[in-house]
């Protein structure tokens, strides 16, 4: 069967992450939550360590830890903390604690690089099911709440006046973010998840005139980056996750130039 080919599985995994990360990434960009995505992704490392220590599913551990971090940050953000400092502290300490915890695990020989930079070529069928299940969940959430999310992003006061609670919408994004982080670990690793959120969305900005077009364009660009990165890493024998992000960055540079010329 076609899924027996590891390259096909890798391509499907990359597409799954692109489809989930790019539309959510548009909101991350619009709401200036880039650092927020970073903190959530880095916290996942601690989740991985805990999962390995208790022989649980790595996906569940990463999801739980991301959810805790995302909720914490989301709650604190409403209370007037100096957010960039706080996020910097939380993001990097979560990552450091995660790395230390993993190294303390006795008896388990773990390839740390696989979690830091992803291991897309080792994606199994059940990984694929998790990735596409997560992608479907995120897309479903975003589609269902789209209008309310967009109104809250534009202005919390406009949302309140229309009977929308922006704090609830923030929670939807928080949940979606944790899911994306958990499913993307295997593909790009904790260090580069935020790049998959932000770079395609930023690359789509100069090409789009409406929020919807930006989200769709970001998804197409992310898919192109995933497939192009996979191909290049295979040809050049480079790590796949970083190669995907490199291709995304080149696409960003290209659309930024096009946008600059048009202006």
């Amino acid at each position: 069967m076609i899924l027996d080919d590891f390259l096909v599985r890798a391509a499907l995994a990359g597409l799954g992450v692109a489809v989930a990360a790019a539309p959510l990434g548009s909101f991350v960009v619009w709401r200036r939550m880039a650092y927020f995505g970073d903190a959530t992704a880095h916290a996942a490392m601690l989740g991985v360590a805990i999962a390995l220590a208790f022989s649980m599913s790595v996906f569940a551990g990463a999801l739980a830890m991301s959810l805790i971090m995302a909720t914490t940050v989301s709650t604190l953000s409403g209370r007037g903390f100096a957010m960039d400092t706080l996020l910097g502290v939380l993001a990097h300490s979560a990552l450091a604690f995660g790395l230390v915890a993993v190294s303390l695990l006795s008896g388990v020989r773990i390839d740390l690089m696989a979690y830091l930079f992803g291991d897309i070529l080792a994606v199994s069928r059940s990984d694929l099911a998790v990735i596409w299940g997560g992608a479907a969940l995120v897309l479903g959430l975003l589609t269902w709440r789209w209008q309310a999310l967009l109104t809250s992003t534009l202005s919390p006061d406009l949302a309140y006046s229309a009977g929308i609670d922006p704090r609830r919408e923030q929670l939807v994004l928080t949940l979606a973010l944790a899911v994306v982080v958990a499913v993307a670990i295997k593909v790009v690793g904790v260090l580069l998840i935020a790049a998959m959120l932000i770079v395609p969305a930023a690359a789509a900005r100069p090409l789009a005139t409406t929020p919807e077009r930006m989200a769709v364009t970001a998804t197409l660009l992310a898919a192109a980056a995933a497939l192009g990165g996979l191909y290049l890493s295979f040809r050049l024998d480079t790590p796949t996750g970083p190669t995907i992000v490199c291709v995304a960055a080149l696409i960003f540079a290209a659309t930024a130039l096009v946008g600059g010329v048009r202006r």
Partner: protein
């Protein structure tokens, strides 16, 4: 039953109290303007009414099913968010294309449906904000200093438009304004706010009221008024005194 009513509304941030024991109500079809010096809690009151601020004391009672159209003081659109006029009008709810065309026509912007919101002039932006609020077919239209940044003829035209809207749609209007001369002619009722309701009533009555004059002086019918006042008058509720002075240029 009033559209909206506040009873003993108190709102504070941290240790400071911005609004104190505010009682007011709004009937269907009325145009009410809130006036008051800077920092008197005008915007805070509006934001509490739309539900964006939780009262620290007292209650806000909304008529069941009340639809509010809100025109904010200003709206910052992040440069990373692409947004055409048409798309903006479809928030929070999408509307049929014919309604959107009619709204743009009504707002005097029939040829700008695909223009980016960021590229509009101040006056065009304000008219789009108003059109969006009206598309919701509100029972209550709330405007927070909606004419800020418009020149005199522009803001006069804007308020004429508000009166037409009231006549066409029968909605009540609650607005905050600094432009006292406009307020005097365009409102059914004026509420003079300074942390609490100083006085309220028909514009000509309020203009004569001692509390109002204490804040705005007597010669404010003109377009330009510089007012300075010392607020040391006591009010009968709680007998709280608050000596302070303001200076503001209109």
């Amino acid at each position: 039953m009033p559209l909206i009513e506040t009873r003993g509304l108190t709102i504070g941030f941290g240790r400071s109290t911005v609004l104190h024991d505010v009682n007011m109500s709004l009937e269907r079809g009325e145009i009410v303007t809130i006036v008051g010096p800077n920092g008197s809690g005008k915007s805070t009151l509006l934001r509490a009414i739309i539900g964006a601020l939780r009262p620290t004391g007292g209650r806000i009672i909304r008529a069941p099913g009340l639809r509010i159209g809100y025109v904010p003081q200003k709206l910052h659109i992040d440069p990373t968010l692409p947004l055409t006029v048409t798309r903006f009008l479809g928030l929070p709810r999408r509307h049929p294309a014919a309604d959107l065309r009619a709204a743009l026509e009504q707002a005097g912007l029939p040829d700008l449906p695909d223009r980016q919101m960021a590229d509009l002039s101040g006056g065009q932006f304000q008219r789009v904000l108003l059109a969006r609020a009206l598309l919701e077919k509100p029972d209550l239209l709330i405007l927070d200093e909606a004419t800020q940044g418009l020149d005199q003829p522009g803001s006069a035209a804007f308020y004429r438009r508000i009166e037409e809207v009231r006549q066409e749609m029968g909605c009540a209007v609650l607005m905050v304004s600094h432009e006292l001369h406009v307020v005097m002619s365009a409102s059914d009722r004026v509420i003079c706010l300074n942390g609490h309701v100083c006085c309220e009533g028909r514009p000509e009555v309020v203009a004569q009221a001692e509390e109002y004059r204490a804040i705005f002086g007597t010669g404010t019918q003109g377009a330009l008024a510089l007012y300075r006042h010392d607020h040391d008058h006591g009010h009968d509720h709680d007998g709280h005194d608050h000596p302070h002075s303001h200076e503001a240029a209109e």
